[in-house]
Structure formats: structure tokens, C-alpha cells
């Protein structure tokens, strides 16, 4: 269950009883596969999901006790763009500002400045449906910022975007971070988390598995390179044949898939091939994954992100 506490002005969030501290100004990433509990965690912190137990606080305010004050301080970018399709792009921003009590005279120039900043300067009068997916997602970021929140929440902001739109969104997020804003983002893209976040929490099944800087996490990736081998049949006999061989830090098998972590790939591969032959199996595919967040993730969760 997601829950959190917040002493002083530190923003803290926790999953399954484990507290995570997110200091102001940090770009914090929640990394995990679909169904890991990321969206639920964001839901609790943004007042849209009621915690079934425990408590959660944002900017020192309990989300269950005072959701209104929490909403005042946060901006939320949803997983799928949900603009008000009856309004134009700039009206989306001006009305959203009005929902926060900001008069039109203040919100209009601010809305235009945000559209300019997000590369939508000339699309203000466009209907939302005329914007591309990437443009709509940037409009959602503008909307989340129009009332100048202390903390920005982004839930898988780049899902469904083409690579170019994704890169341009990364630039936007980097510049928001440079301006000193606290950002909490969920993602299941390793590279995105690695590139953008100051610190990362790796979560799966609602549990915190690891928490560190991307560099720190990479250093914790298990014993070297991951060798993934697909066999032409059940991989378990190969696993038995591999047991006890030196240089292999960890081996596991699931169905036809065999996973081997090795310090020296050039020695490990022939050993794996010999073991396969002994077990009467032939490899149909071999993949080599250098130490990375990806290999750490696979070693922690036993599964891939996507």
C-alpha cells in the first residue's frame, strides 16, 4: 500500500511501508513495469486515489485530511492527455487557471508564455483535436504549470510519443528541473529515468526494490554482463548443466529463456553452449546486455520492464 509521511518541509512518499524522501527541487523517478503500483502511488499523492491504509503527505500536507490544499500545490500531467476538448489550447490553460482562482488578466499572458516555452506558441487558438499527441502532452504540461505549483507530478508522460516528441519533452522537463521545480515522474523507460532523474526508486508489485541515483544503481547492477539465451526447448536442464561453473555470478531459467550473469562474456558463452549441448538443447537466440539499469532491474524483479 502506498503511504507516506512528511516531517518539516521535506516531501516524502513511501510504498509498502518504506519511506522515500523527495527533497524540494529534486527530479525523482519511480521506475517499474506496468502494474508495479506507480500510477496508484501518483494517484494517492495527487488526491485521486484514497489510500486504503497508512497516510500520505505532499508538501507537508496530509492528502486524506486536506486534499484541497494539496491540489493547490501540485500540478499533474496524466498518462494520457485529457484536455477539455470543447476548448481551444489557450482556453484550456485560462480556464484551468480560473479553477485555481487566477484572474484572466494574470492567466492570459502566463498561458501564452507557457505555450511559447513549450513550442506551442502559434497553436493557442487551435482546437485540441488539431494538435498531435506530442503537442497535446505538452499542453498538459503547460496546464499543470499554469497555477505555478510547487510540485509537478508526471505519470508516464512520454508513453505513446514518437522518439522526436519524446526527446523534445525531455528538454522541457530538464529546463523545468533547472528552474528548481520539484518533479516526481513515473516511467517504465529505463533510458528516460537514467537521463532525467536525480534519484530513482525501482518498484514492483507495490514494493520498493532499490533507491539511489542512476549512477549508484548502475554500480549495483549484478556481476557483470547479462547473457540471455533462448533455447529450442525447456531451459531448465541447461541450468542444471551450468551449476557450479566458475565465472558465472548468477544463472536462472524460465521456460525457454536462460539468463546468465558473467564477468567475462568471452569465456561464459562457450560454457553456456557446451552446457546446452550436454542438455540436448540448441540456442535459437543469444543476446548480450551490458551492465545497466536494465540488468539491475531484471535481476531485482526477474522480469523486463515492457
Amino acid at each position: 500500500m502506498p503511504a507516506s509521511v512528511a516531517p518539516g518541509n521535506r516531501e516524502i512518499l513511501a510504498i509498502d511501508g518504506l519511506d522515500l524522501e523527495v527533497p524540494p527541487g529534486e527530479f525523482f523517478g519511480l521506475l517499474g513495469p506496468n502494474g508495479a503500483g506507480k500510477t496508484t502511488t501518483i494517484g494517492v499523492l495527487t488526491t485521486r486515489v484514497r489510500p486504503t491504509s497508512g497516510s500520505a503527505s505532499v508538501a507537508g500536507i496530509d492528502v486524506s485530511a486536506d486534499p484541497v490544499s494539496v491540489k493547490q500545490r501540485i500540478g499533474v500531467v496524466p498518462q494520457r492527455p485529457n484536455p477539455d476538448r470543447q476548448l481551444t489550447a489557450i482556453q484550456n490553460l485560462i480556464f484551468h487557471a480560473a479553477y485555481f482562482g487566477i484572474p484572466r488578466a494574470t492567466s492570459t499572458p502566463r498561458a501564452q508564455a507557457l505555450l511559447d516555452q513549450l513550442g506551442l506558441g502559434d497553436r493557442g487558438e487551435s482546437k485540441v483535436d488539431q494538435l498531435s499527441g506530442g503537442q497535446q502532452q505538452r499542453l498538459m504540461i503547460a496546464r499543470a504549470l499554469i497555477h505555478e505549483p510547487e510540485i509537478l507530478f508526471l505519470d508516464e508522460p512520454t508513453v505513446g510519443l514518437d522518439p522526436q516528441a519524446r526527446l523534445s519533452l525531455w528538454d522541457v522537463l530538464r529546463s523545468l528541473h533547472d528552474q528548481g521545480r520539484t518533479i516526481i515522474m513515473t516511467t517504465h523507460y529505463m533510458e528516460e529515468a537514467d537521463q532525467l532523474c536525480d534519484r530513482l526508486a525501482i518498484v514492483d508489485h507495490g514494493k520498493l526494490l532499490a533507491l539511489d541515483t542512476p549512477e549508484g544503481l548502475r554500480a549495483r547492477a549484478p556481476g557483470g554482463t547479462l547473457i540471455e539465451v533462448t533455447m529450442d526447448g525447456d531451459a531448465a536442464p541447461v541450468l542444471t548443466a551450468l551449476q557450479g561453473l566458475p565465472n558465472l555470478s548468477r544463472v536462472s531459467a524460465k521456460g525457454k529463456e536462460l539468463q546468465v550473469y558473467a564477468e567475462r562474456v568471452a569465456e561464459a558463452i562457450p560454457a553456456v553452449l557446451r552446457a546446452a549441448e550436454q542438455a540436448g538443447r540448441a540456442p535459437t537466440d543469444i543476446r548480450i546486455v551490458p551492465p545497466s539499469l536494465e540488468t539491475l532491474f531484471v535481476s531485482l524483479t526477474g522480469r523486463k520492464l515492457d
Binding site: 494517484g43 495527487t46 488526491t47 485521486r48 486515489v49 484514497r50 486534499p67 484541497v68 490544499s69 491540489k71 493547490q72 499533474v76 496524466p78 494520457r80 485529457n82 484536455p83 477539455d84 476538448r85 470543447q86 476548448l87 482556453q91 484550456n92 480556464f95 484551468h96 480560473a98 479553477y99 485555481f100 482562482g101 496546464r143
Partner: protein, 259 residues
């Protein structure tokens, strides 16, 4: 500092005025076409053919107005609500507003009430034009007409809130087939409740139908000389119905807004 709920409420109203005023012709067409066609058949064609007495129009007009305002109010709230919570998720930008969620639900119900009243206001002259002079029609109690329209539209907007948040998107056809259509046929819209004395069992059964009180209320204020339920009974029933729908509707709205 959180903004005052009323300020946010005002912003929500401005948004709906902006959006609804652009859609108004389509909205009126969608919600009043059925009662207007009914008016043509039962208020013009059948009396002309001699199948119903001329005096029938006096009983029909208030009912047609009742159906128009009830139908428009339910649709104005329920349809966008089903779409917003079901697939467009558009309402989420308002759920982020720093106000308790009931403020957003209440605004929707009040906007639906106004739309229901506009529908009735639109149908009145059209129906009068189709039916010709109507015996017993009396605008002497215009204040009462407004109060009764307001009560009827509010109770059905609250009903729309409950329906719109309580049912799933794929059940929307079912909602109109199983709930709204029987409500209209057994809502004393096209015949006065007193006349149902001819079928006493039906006369008692229809009392669970909120539309009965709207139709009878419209009769009481528009054609006071013709048979109708007592206005205090009607007003009491509508207040009670509104309260029940509002309490249940706010609860289901909150469940959809905060899971």
C-alpha cells in the same frame, strides 16, 4: 492560500456557459424533438381527426413541458458525465481544482437545471403554436411557474448526476430504454394523474415515478382550473426526490472522482 469555493464555482459556470451556449441549438434539438413530435401528433393531428377531444390539449401542454424539462435536465448532466468518467476523462482537469469534489458535482447539477428550464421555455411557444388556443391555460401565476420549473429541473438534474456516475458507458442505451422511456410513458405527462382513477392500481404504482410530480406540478401552475395534484404535495415530493437523488448522486460522483 486556497481560492474560495465560490470563486472556483464561478469559473466552472463560466466554462459551462461558454461550451453549452455554443452547443445550445443541437442540445435543444436533441432534447425537445421527441416532445414536439408528440405535440404534433396528439396536440394537433388527433384532435383534428376527431380521435381526441379538443380539450385534451389543456392536459397535454403542461405534460409536454414537464417531459421536455425533465428529459433535457437528465441528459444535460448524465451524458457528459458518462463520457467524462468513461473515456474522455475531460472532467479530470476540474477534479484537480482546489475545491472539494462536491462543488464540481453541484455546479454540473445547477448547469443541468438551467438547461432544463431553457428547454421548457423553448418548447412552450412551439407547443402553443402547434396546438392553437389552449383552454384553461393561465399565466397568472408566473412566479409559481418558475418555481415549479426550477424544482422539476433540479430534481431531474440530480437524477442525471446519479445516472451519469452510477452507470457504465456501455449501459447508456439501456438507461434510456429501461429507465427514461418508461418514466415518460408512466409519468402522467400525456394524461392527468386524477384521470388514472380509471385504473386504480396504475394510479398508485406511478407515484414512484418522479416525472409524475413534475407533470402534475406544471398542470397546477399552468392550467390551475383543470384537475391536478395539490401543489404542496407536488412541491414536497420534488424536494424529497431532489434530496434523495442529490445525496446518492454526490456519493457516486465522489466514488468516481476519488477511487
Amino acid at each position: 492560500m486556497n481560492p474560495s469555493p465560490w470563486k472556483v464555482f464561478g469559473a466552472l459556470v463560466r466554462r459551462d456557459v461558454h461550451v453549452v451556449s455554443r452547443e445550445l441549438p443541437f442540445f435543444l434539438l436533441r432534447t425537445t424533438l421527441q416532445p414536439i413530435m408528440f405535440t404534433i401528433v396528439f396536440g394537433y393531428l388527433l384532435p383534428k381527426m376527431g380521435f381526441v377531444q379538443r380539450g385534451y390539449t389543456g392536459a397535454l401542454l403542461p405534460g409536454v413541458l414537464g417531459v421536455s424539462l425533465a428529459f433535457a435536465s437528465v441528459q444535460a448532466v448524465a451524458l457528459p458525465m458518462v463520457a467524462d468518467f468513461g473515456w474522455t476523462k475531460e472532467i479530470e482537469d476540474r477534479l484537480l481544482a482546489p475545491v472539494p469534489t462536491w462543488v464540481i458535482a453541484l455546479e454540473k447539477v445547477l448547469a443541468g437545471t438551467v438547461q432544463g428550464m431553457i428547454a421548457a421555455l423553448f418548447v412552450l411557444p412551439v407547443a402553443r403554436l402547434i396546438m392553437g388556443p389552449i383552454a384553461g391555460l393561465d399565466f397568472a401565476h408566473f412566479g409559481l411557474v418558475i418555481v415549479m420549473t426550477l424544482l422539476g429541473a433540479f430534481s431531474f438534474s440530480a437524477f442525471g448526476l446519479l445516472l451519469g456516475t452510477g452507470i457504465k458507458g456501455e449501459q447508456i442505451g439501456l438507461m434510456f430504454g429501461l429507465i427514461v422511456a418508461p418514466m415518460i410513458f408512466f409519468g402522467c405527462a400525456y394524461y392527468p394523474w386524477k384521470a388514472l382513477a380509471a385504473a386504480p392500481v396504475v394510479q398508485v404504482l406511478v407515484l414512484v415515478n418522479p416525472l409524475v410530480y413534475v407533470s402534475e406540478g406544471m398542470r397546477g401552475v399552468l392550467t390551475p382550473g383543470l384537475p391536478h395534484m395539490g401543489l404542496p404535495v407536488v412541491a414536497g415530493a420534488l424536494v424529497l426526490i431532489s434530496a434523495i437523488f442529490m445525496v446518492l448522486g454526490l456519493r457516486t460522483f465522489d466514488k468516481r472522482a476519488v477511487s
